[in-house]
């Protein structure tokens, strides 16, 4: 634990418990034998318990082991994921999305607790800025609702209203989704996550991409019954989170709880963000900025 920096929230870094393993065959070349025993808590259904995610260490890009025992992420909290480009943020998000079991490049193990593991419990907004499907917005929403077994009158209108709240370019029902701009695509992906996928675990890779209104978008995707993890390069977005995970060289390097001082600094950053947003609006509409 020497090089692993924890600032606050020590209780989240639990040293004692062994992780469950879905498959013994993949327990090869472990770093710490105590971490590779078959646990007794895996895959069981805890009725009434809220969802949480345990991350067990893997390895960095240089194949050296990660220096923590376990990180637990809980429902009702928002976590930011920070680090330079190429530090391993998207990789960690993929690991969680896949509930990887030492079978990815990082060899991490991710365990979902409080419910039976099910991929429909996870909503994932990746960095993708375009759709490949050759269908209209209306067909897309209908197809996704059918796949998710969601039946709700007015769903299409709700998705479109939602999307148009976070992007200035209007989206309409008959637009082809593979022809949408980057901003429209992101907005539709976010609106779809909010309306069609009421999943409790929300993974976001860069909410601020493509000039969408990130405050409105985050409001749509978070809530008391959700666990949100978002990769970001934006200090304001990061400080709106309860805590942040810092990654470097492909490894989880620190778990940093947001302090009161940071929260008040966040308010300053929010004012700056709002100023910047309104200046941006004036800029794109051809107005003078001062």
């Amino acid at each position: 634990m020497n090089s692993f920096k924890t600032q606050g929230l020590e209780a989240q870094l639990d040293n004692g418990e062994n992780p469950p393993s879905h498959n013994e065959a993949f327990d090869d070349g472990g770093t710490d034998s105590s971490v590779h025993n078959i646990g007794t808590h895996g895959g069981t259904l805890h009725s009434g318990a809220s969802l949480s995610i345990d991350i067990y260490p893997g390895q960095g890009k240089d194949k050296s082991p990660e220096n923590f025992e376990k990180i637990t992420l809980e429902t009702g909290k928002v976590y930011a994921l920070v680090g330079t480009t190429g530090s391993g943020k998207s990789r960690l998000i993929s690991d969680i999305e896949q509930l990887c079991n030492a079978d990815s490049l990082t060899k991490r193990r991710v365990v979902m607790r409080g419910c039976a593991p099910d991929k429909h419990l996870i909503a994932h907004l990746s960095q993708n800025m375009r759709f490949y499907l050759d269908v209209s917005v209306e067909e897309f929403v209908a197809m996704h609702a059918q796949a998710r077994k969601v039946e709700r009158p007015g769903l299409l209108e709700d998705v479109i209203t939602c999307a148009n709240k976070i992007t200035p370019e209007g989206i309409e029902a008959d637009h082809q989704i593979n022809l949408l701009s980057g901003g429209q695509t992101r907005a539709l992906m976010i609106a779809d996550l909010a309306q069609v996928c009421p999943s409790p675990l929300v993974l976001i890779d860069e909410i601020e991409n493509a000039g969408i209104d990130k405050i409105a978008a985050l409001k749509l995707l978070s809530g008391a019954n959700k666990l949100v993890l978002m990769a970001t390069h934006d200090p304001h977005t990061a400080l709106t989170a309860d805590a942040r995970i810092h990654v470097a060289g492909g490894k989880i390097d620190a778990f940093i709880e947001t302090t009161e001082a940071e929260r008040s600094f966040c308010k300053e950053l929010e004012r700056a963000y709002i100023t910047l947003q309104s200046a941006r609006k004036q800029l794109v509409t051809g107005e003078r900025l001062a």
């Binding site: 879905h22 498959n23 065959a25 993949f26 090869d28 990789r91 993929s94 999305e97 896949q98 990887c100 079991n101 079978d103 990815s104 490049l105 996870i122 909503a123 994932h124 907004l125 990746s126 993708n128 759709f131 490949y132 499907l133 050759d134 269908v135 897309f140 197809m143 996704h144 059918q146 796949a147 998710r148 992906m189 779809d192 996550l193 069609v196 996928c197």
Partner: protein
């Protein structure tokens, strides 16, 4: 002794070789020996990359005949070769052409590979290769949104309700553990003697099958199927 033949089929450039490589490499780690045969039509450009696994690897091209027919015609030769390599598993990668046929036999583990970035209409046009597959693999999932992956999964489950679907990213190696476990769990066969195709191949042989190049009815012999234009128009536009 050869226990399983795993057929990897799918259209061109969907990621069949990448899927095969990840599966064979993971099985090697579990001390399961595999041989690899790639059947191409005109060339087998994947062989150098497949050979890097260090497993017995063979590439064959069907040249003048349909690669699926060629594969079935040479199945006994391929499993004898795999036996001679003391392999437990034989992976066969198909050429991936017209979708009319599937060279899957009853006793193979038939895997159909689908490109996640392809059209959502692809599942309906894949025919027996998908309909009769034991497992379906969606590749390039790193490039598509979760919504698109879920839509594709749903559509595949409509075409082949029984087959488990595996989402993989063969660049980073995500999602292969469950697929490899499913391949390892498939029942071993005692023998491949008397095996049969799951789906019959075309019943006709026409002039062009045997090398005719000239266009026109005068040059067409054998089983010739002619388009009924009016009927085809009605099928395309049923509401007009």
């Amino acid at each position: 002794m050869l226990e399983k033949i795993i057929l990897i089929s799918g259209a061109t450039a969907v990621g069949k070789s990448a899927v095969l490589k990840h599966c064979a490499a993971a099985l090697s780690k579990q001390h399961i020996s595999a041989s690899i045969a790639k059947i191409g039509c005109l060339s087998t450009p994947d062989i150098p990359s497949l050979s890097q696994l260090g497993l017995p690897t063979l590439g064959a091209t069907s040249q003048d005949i349909c690669p699926d027919h060629y594969l079935v015609s040479n199945l006994c030769e391929l499993w004898e070769w795999a036996e001679s390599q003391q392999s437990q598993y034989l992976f066969i990668e198909t050429a991936g052409l017209c979708n009319r046929c599937s060279p899957a036999t009853q006793r193979m583990v038939a895997i159909c590979v689908i490109d996640g970035t392809a059209s959502c209409k692809a599942p309906q046009s894949l025919g027996p290769m998908l309909e009769q597959a034991d497992m379906v693999v969606i590749t390039k999932t790193d490039s598509i949104s979760q919504a698109e992956a879920e839509i594709l999964e749903y559509q595949l489950s409509q075409v082949n309700p029984g087959a488990p679907i595996f989402l993989v990213d063969a660049l980073a190696g995500y999602g292969f553990e469950p697929l490899v476990a499913a391949i390892a769990a498939a029942p071993a066969q005692e023998s491949f003697e008397g095996d049969s195709l799951r789906y019959a191949m075309p019943t006709g042989v026409c002039s062009y099958c045997v090398g005719e190049c000239r266009v026109g009815s005068a040059f067409q012999q054998g089983i010739v199927s002619k388009i009924d234009v009016n009927r085809a128009l009605n099928e395309r536009c049923p509401h007009e």
